[in-house]
Symmetry: C2
Subunit: 160 residues, 2 copies
Protein backbone atom coordinates (compact mmCIF):
# COMPACT_ATOMS: atom_id res chain seq x y z
CA UNK A 1 0.00 0.00 0.00
CA UNK A 2 1.22 3.49 -0.92
CA UNK A 3 0.82 5.66 2.23
CA UNK A 4 0.42 8.80 0.09
CA UNK A 5 -2.50 7.25 -1.82
CA UNK A 6 -4.05 6.05 1.43
CA UNK A 7 -3.81 9.57 2.83
CA UNK A 8 -5.39 11.13 -0.24
CA UNK A 9 -8.24 8.60 -0.21
CA UNK A 10 -8.97 8.97 3.52
CA UNK A 11 -9.08 12.73 3.02
CA UNK A 12 -12.07 12.24 0.72
CA UNK A 13 -14.30 11.20 3.64
CA UNK A 14 -16.92 13.80 4.58
CA UNK A 15 -17.14 15.18 8.13
CA UNK A 16 -18.99 17.65 10.29
CA UNK A 17 -17.35 19.51 13.16
CA UNK A 18 -18.39 19.20 16.78
CA UNK A 19 -17.18 20.30 20.20
CA UNK A 20 -16.97 17.20 22.38
CA UNK A 21 -17.04 17.84 26.14
CA UNK A 22 -16.83 15.88 29.39
CA UNK A 23 -16.81 16.49 33.10
CA UNK A 24 -15.34 14.39 35.90
CA UNK A 25 -15.76 15.70 39.44
CA UNK A 26 -14.73 19.40 39.16
CA UNK A 27 -12.68 18.98 35.98
CA UNK A 28 -13.95 19.96 32.54
CA UNK A 29 -12.51 19.15 29.12
CA UNK A 30 -13.54 20.12 25.60
CA UNK A 31 -12.14 19.62 22.13
CA UNK A 32 -13.15 19.97 18.49
CA UNK A 33 -13.68 16.59 16.83
CA UNK A 34 -14.83 15.34 13.44
CA UNK A 35 -14.55 11.54 13.64
CA UNK A 36 -18.13 11.13 14.85
CA UNK A 37 -21.30 9.44 13.59
CA UNK A 38 -24.55 7.95 14.75
CA UNK A 39 -24.23 4.12 14.87
CA UNK A 40 -27.68 2.80 15.89
CA UNK A 41 -31.32 3.90 15.87
CA UNK A 42 -32.56 1.60 18.63
CA UNK A 43 -31.11 2.30 21.12
CA UNK A 44 -29.84 5.62 19.75
CA UNK A 45 -26.04 5.32 19.78
CA UNK A 46 -23.24 7.64 18.67
CA UNK A 47 -19.62 6.64 17.99
CA UNK A 48 -16.71 9.07 18.33
CA UNK A 49 -12.94 8.61 18.10
CA UNK A 50 -10.98 10.58 20.74
CA UNK A 51 -7.20 11.05 20.79
CA UNK A 52 -5.96 8.53 23.35
CA UNK A 53 -3.38 10.80 25.00
CA UNK A 54 -5.72 13.78 25.49
CA UNK A 55 -7.23 15.17 28.66
CA UNK A 56 -10.63 14.97 26.98
CA UNK A 57 -10.06 11.22 26.58
CA UNK A 58 -9.17 10.89 30.26
CA UNK A 59 -12.37 12.65 31.32
CA UNK A 60 -14.65 10.73 28.95
CA UNK A 61 -13.09 7.54 30.29
CA UNK A 62 -13.37 8.58 33.95
CA UNK A 63 -16.97 9.84 33.71
CA UNK A 64 -18.14 7.30 31.12
CA UNK A 65 -20.06 10.16 29.52
CA UNK A 66 -19.71 12.92 26.92
CA UNK A 67 -21.69 15.67 25.25
CA UNK A 68 -21.62 16.48 21.54
CA UNK A 69 -22.14 20.17 20.72
CA UNK A 70 -22.98 20.68 17.05
CA UNK A 71 -21.29 23.70 15.45
CA UNK A 72 -23.23 25.98 13.09
CA UNK A 73 -21.88 26.88 9.64
CA UNK A 74 -20.75 30.35 10.80
CA UNK A 75 -18.93 29.05 13.92
CA UNK A 76 -15.52 28.12 12.47
CA UNK A 77 -13.95 30.46 15.06
CA UNK A 78 -15.57 28.45 17.86
CA UNK A 79 -14.19 25.23 16.35
CA UNK A 80 -10.75 26.86 16.30
CA UNK A 81 -11.02 27.95 19.96
CA UNK A 82 -11.41 24.32 21.00
CA UNK A 83 -8.19 23.16 19.32
CA UNK A 84 -6.51 24.91 22.29
CA UNK A 85 -6.18 23.32 25.76
CA UNK A 86 -9.32 23.68 27.88
CA UNK A 87 -9.42 26.75 30.11
CA UNK A 88 -12.21 27.91 32.40
CA UNK A 89 -12.04 31.67 33.06
CA UNK A 90 -14.77 34.00 34.31
CA UNK A 91 -17.26 31.16 34.06
CA UNK A 92 -16.46 30.64 30.37
CA UNK A 93 -14.91 27.68 28.59
CA UNK A 94 -12.19 28.84 26.17
CA UNK A 95 -14.12 32.11 26.02
CA UNK A 96 -17.60 30.67 25.49
CA UNK A 97 -20.59 30.52 27.85
CA UNK A 98 -21.75 27.09 28.94
CA UNK A 99 -24.15 25.25 31.21
CA UNK A 100 -23.98 21.69 32.61
CA UNK A 101 -25.62 18.84 30.70
CA UNK A 102 -28.52 17.38 32.70
CA UNK A 103 -27.11 13.91 33.43
CA UNK A 104 -23.29 14.09 33.44
CA UNK A 105 -22.68 17.81 33.90
CA UNK A 106 -20.54 17.87 30.73
CA UNK A 107 -20.39 21.44 29.41
CA UNK A 108 -23.02 22.47 26.85
CA UNK A 109 -21.99 25.53 24.83
CA UNK A 110 -25.05 27.76 24.84
CA UNK A 111 -24.12 29.56 21.58
CA UNK A 112 -24.20 26.32 19.61
CA UNK A 113 -27.45 25.24 17.93
CA UNK A 114 -27.85 21.65 19.18
CA UNK A 115 -26.40 19.00 21.45
CA UNK A 116 -26.74 15.39 22.62
CA UNK A 117 -25.53 13.89 25.86
CA UNK A 118 -24.31 10.29 25.88
CA UNK A 119 -23.48 7.59 28.38
CA UNK A 120 -20.53 5.44 27.25
CA UNK A 121 -21.58 1.83 26.65
CA UNK A 122 -18.54 0.46 24.79
CA UNK A 123 -15.02 1.38 23.79
CA UNK A 124 -12.47 0.09 21.28
CA UNK A 125 -8.86 0.78 22.26
CA UNK A 126 -6.91 -0.14 19.18
CA UNK A 127 -5.20 2.85 17.59
CA UNK A 128 -4.01 6.32 18.56
CA UNK A 129 -7.67 7.26 19.13
CA UNK A 130 -10.18 5.32 21.22
CA UNK A 131 -13.62 4.67 19.75
CA UNK A 132 -16.26 5.47 22.35
CA UNK A 133 -19.81 4.27 21.69
CA UNK A 134 -22.39 6.16 23.72
CA UNK A 135 -26.14 5.92 24.18
CA UNK A 136 -27.96 9.23 23.71
CA UNK A 137 -29.63 10.01 27.04
CA UNK A 138 -30.54 13.68 26.47
CA UNK A 139 -30.77 16.04 23.52
CA UNK A 140 -31.44 19.73 23.03
CA UNK A 141 -32.13 22.01 20.09
CA UNK A 142 -31.53 25.74 20.53
CA UNK A 143 -31.82 26.70 16.85
CA UNK A 144 -33.60 24.28 14.55
CA UNK A 145 -32.86 26.42 11.47
CA UNK A 146 -29.06 26.45 11.86
CA UNK A 147 -27.00 24.80 9.11
CA UNK A 148 -24.14 22.70 10.52
CA UNK A 149 -20.45 23.42 9.97
CA UNK A 150 -18.86 21.01 7.51
CA UNK A 151 -15.15 20.19 7.36
CA UNK A 152 -15.16 20.87 3.59
CA UNK A 153 -16.10 24.51 4.26
CA UNK A 154 -13.15 25.12 6.60
CA UNK A 155 -10.23 24.16 4.35
CA UNK A 156 -8.97 21.98 7.21
CA UNK A 157 -8.25 18.25 7.16
CA UNK A 158 -8.16 15.76 9.99
CA UNK A 159 -7.67 12.36 8.45
CA UNK A 160 -5.36 10.55 6.09
CA UNK B 1 -35.78 13.16 26.60
CA UNK B 2 -38.11 14.19 23.78
CA UNK B 3 -37.60 11.65 20.95
CA UNK B 4 -38.62 14.25 18.34
CA UNK B 5 -35.90 16.66 19.56
CA UNK B 6 -33.37 13.84 19.62
CA UNK B 7 -34.28 12.97 16.02
CA UNK B 8 -33.95 16.57 14.84
CA UNK B 9 -30.57 16.95 16.58
CA UNK B 10 -29.14 13.68 15.25
CA UNK B 11 -30.21 14.74 11.75
CA UNK B 12 -27.82 17.68 12.03
CA UNK B 13 -24.77 15.38 11.86
CA UNK B 14 -22.85 15.62 8.58
CA UNK B 15 -22.21 12.54 6.43
CA UNK B 16 -20.68 11.38 3.20
CA UNK B 17 -22.07 8.47 1.19
CA UNK B 18 -20.16 5.29 0.45
CA UNK B 19 -20.80 1.87 -1.07
CA UNK B 20 -19.62 -0.72 1.44
CA UNK B 21 -18.87 -4.15 0.00
CA UNK B 22 -17.77 -7.59 1.19
CA UNK B 23 -17.08 -11.02 -0.20
CA UNK B 24 -17.21 -14.39 1.51
CA UNK B 25 -16.40 -17.45 -0.60
CA UNK B 26 -18.46 -16.92 -3.78
CA UNK B 27 -20.97 -14.54 -2.22
CA UNK B 28 -20.86 -10.77 -2.70
CA UNK B 29 -22.76 -8.07 -0.85
CA UNK B 30 -22.88 -4.30 -1.24
CA UNK B 31 -24.86 -1.49 0.32
CA UNK B 32 -24.86 2.31 0.55
CA UNK B 33 -23.82 3.53 4.00
CA UNK B 34 -23.17 6.87 5.65
CA UNK B 35 -22.31 6.03 9.29
CA UNK B 36 -18.58 5.84 8.57
CA UNK B 37 -15.45 7.67 9.70
CA UNK B 38 -11.74 7.26 10.12
CA UNK B 39 -10.94 6.51 13.79
CA UNK B 40 -7.10 6.29 14.03
CA UNK B 41 -4.03 7.51 12.13
CA UNK B 42 -1.60 4.88 13.44
CA UNK B 43 -2.56 2.24 12.56
CA UNK B 44 -4.99 3.68 10.00
CA UNK B 45 -8.44 2.54 11.16
CA UNK B 46 -11.96 3.13 9.86
CA UNK B 47 -15.20 2.60 11.78
CA UNK B 48 -18.52 1.83 10.09
CA UNK B 49 -21.96 0.92 11.45
CA UNK B 50 -23.72 -1.83 9.47
CA UNK B 51 -27.36 -2.88 9.87
CA UNK B 52 -27.20 -6.03 11.99
CA UNK B 53 -29.87 -7.98 10.09
CA UNK B 54 -28.42 -7.33 6.61
CA UNK B 55 -26.67 -9.72 4.26
CA UNK B 56 -23.84 -7.19 4.01
CA UNK B 57 -23.39 -7.54 7.78
CA UNK B 58 -23.28 -11.32 7.51
CA UNK B 59 -20.56 -11.16 4.85
CA UNK B 60 -18.43 -8.56 6.67
CA UNK B 61 -18.68 -10.75 9.75
CA UNK B 62 -17.86 -14.00 7.90
CA UNK B 63 -14.93 -12.55 5.93
CA UNK B 64 -13.70 -10.13 8.64
CA UNK B 65 -13.11 -7.66 5.82
CA UNK B 66 -14.80 -4.89 3.87
CA UNK B 67 -14.13 -2.34 1.15
CA UNK B 68 -15.29 1.28 1.22
CA UNK B 69 -16.03 2.76 -2.21
CA UNK B 70 -16.25 6.56 -2.08
CA UNK B 71 -19.04 8.05 -4.21
CA UNK B 72 -18.43 11.17 -6.30
CA UNK B 73 -20.73 14.20 -6.07
CA UNK B 74 -22.50 13.29 -9.34
CA UNK B 75 -23.11 9.62 -8.37
CA UNK B 76 -26.36 9.90 -6.41
CA UNK B 77 -27.88 7.36 -8.82
CA UNK B 78 -25.14 4.86 -7.90
CA UNK B 79 -25.89 5.41 -4.18
CA UNK B 80 -29.55 4.74 -4.94
CA UNK B 81 -28.76 1.52 -6.84
CA UNK B 82 -27.12 0.09 -3.71
CA UNK B 83 -30.18 0.60 -1.52
CA UNK B 84 -31.54 -2.42 -3.41
CA UNK B 85 -30.61 -6.04 -2.59
CA UNK B 86 -27.29 -7.09 -4.12
CA UNK B 87 -27.54 -8.73 -7.54
CA UNK B 88 -24.76 -9.95 -9.78
CA UNK B 89 -25.82 -10.04 -13.45
CA UNK B 90 -23.64 -10.13 -16.57
CA UNK B 91 -20.57 -9.61 -14.40
CA UNK B 92 -22.04 -6.41 -12.92
CA UNK B 93 -23.05 -5.60 -9.37
CA UNK B 94 -26.47 -3.91 -9.32
CA UNK B 95 -25.65 -2.73 -12.82
CA UNK B 96 -22.10 -1.47 -12.16
CA UNK B 97 -18.73 -2.88 -13.23
CA UNK B 98 -16.43 -4.12 -10.48
CA UNK B 99 -13.15 -5.86 -9.79
CA UNK B 100 -11.97 -7.77 -6.70
CA UNK B 101 -10.09 -5.93 -3.94
CA UNK B 102 -6.50 -7.22 -3.67
CA UNK B 103 -6.69 -8.83 -0.22
CA UNK B 104 -10.29 -9.88 0.49
CA UNK B 105 -11.81 -9.92 -2.98
CA UNK B 106 -14.55 -7.52 -1.86
CA UNK B 107 -16.01 -5.77 -4.92
CA UNK B 108 -14.43 -2.45 -5.94
CA UNK B 109 -16.72 -0.37 -8.15
CA UNK B 110 -14.51 0.81 -10.99
CA UNK B 111 -16.64 3.91 -11.76
CA UNK B 112 -16.09 5.32 -8.27
CA UNK B 113 -13.15 7.67 -7.63
CA UNK B 114 -11.49 6.06 -4.60
CA UNK B 115 -11.56 3.10 -2.25
CA UNK B 116 -9.96 1.55 0.83
CA UNK B 117 -9.91 -2.09 1.82
CA UNK B 118 -10.04 -2.99 5.51
CA UNK B 119 -9.46 -6.01 7.72
CA UNK B 120 -11.87 -6.09 10.68
CA UNK B 121 -10.01 -5.77 13.99
CA UNK B 122 -12.88 -5.06 16.42
CA UNK B 123 -16.66 -4.97 16.57
CA UNK B 124 -19.25 -3.51 18.94
CA UNK B 125 -22.57 -5.35 18.89
CA UNK B 126 -24.85 -3.11 20.89
CA UNK B 127 -27.66 -1.62 18.83
CA UNK B 128 -29.52 -2.38 15.60
CA UNK B 129 -26.25 -1.75 13.73
CA UNK B 130 -22.86 -3.32 14.52
CA UNK B 131 -19.82 -1.04 14.66
CA UNK B 132 -16.99 -2.65 12.72
CA UNK B 133 -13.51 -1.19 13.18
CA UNK B 134 -11.16 -2.11 10.35
CA UNK B 135 -7.51 -1.52 9.60
CA UNK B 136 -6.84 -0.07 6.16
CA UNK B 137 -4.73 -2.63 4.28
CA UNK B 138 -5.04 -1.28 0.74
CA UNK B 139 -6.18 1.94 -0.91
CA UNK B 140 -6.72 3.13 -4.47
CA UNK B 141 -7.40 6.45 -6.12
CA UNK B 142 -8.92 6.43 -9.62
CA UNK B 143 -9.77 10.15 -9.80
CA UNK B 144 -7.98 12.47 -7.40
CA UNK B 145 -9.97 15.50 -8.61
CA UNK B 146 -13.43 14.06 -7.83
CA UNK B 147 -15.51 15.83 -5.19
CA UNK B 148 -17.25 13.38 -2.84
CA UNK B 149 -21.02 12.96 -2.54
CA UNK B 150 -22.39 14.48 0.65
CA UNK B 151 -25.65 13.47 2.33
CA UNK B 152 -26.71 17.14 2.50
CA UNK B 153 -26.72 17.31 -1.31
CA UNK B 154 -29.08 14.35 -1.71
CA UNK B 155 -32.07 15.53 0.35
CA UNK B 156 -31.95 12.12 2.09
CA UNK B 157 -31.59 11.41 5.80
CA UNK B 158 -30.30 8.31 7.57
CA UNK B 159 -30.16 9.15 11.23
CA UNK B 160 -32.36 10.46 14.04
Amino acid sequence: MDPEVRKQVLRKLTYGLYVLTARHQQELAAGTVNWLSQCSFQPPLVMVAVKADSRLHALVEASAAFAVNILAAHQKDVAQAFFRPTQVENGRLNGYAFEPAPVSGAPLLVDLPAWVECRVTDRVKRGDHTVFVGEVVEAGLRDGQACPLEMWDTGWFYGG
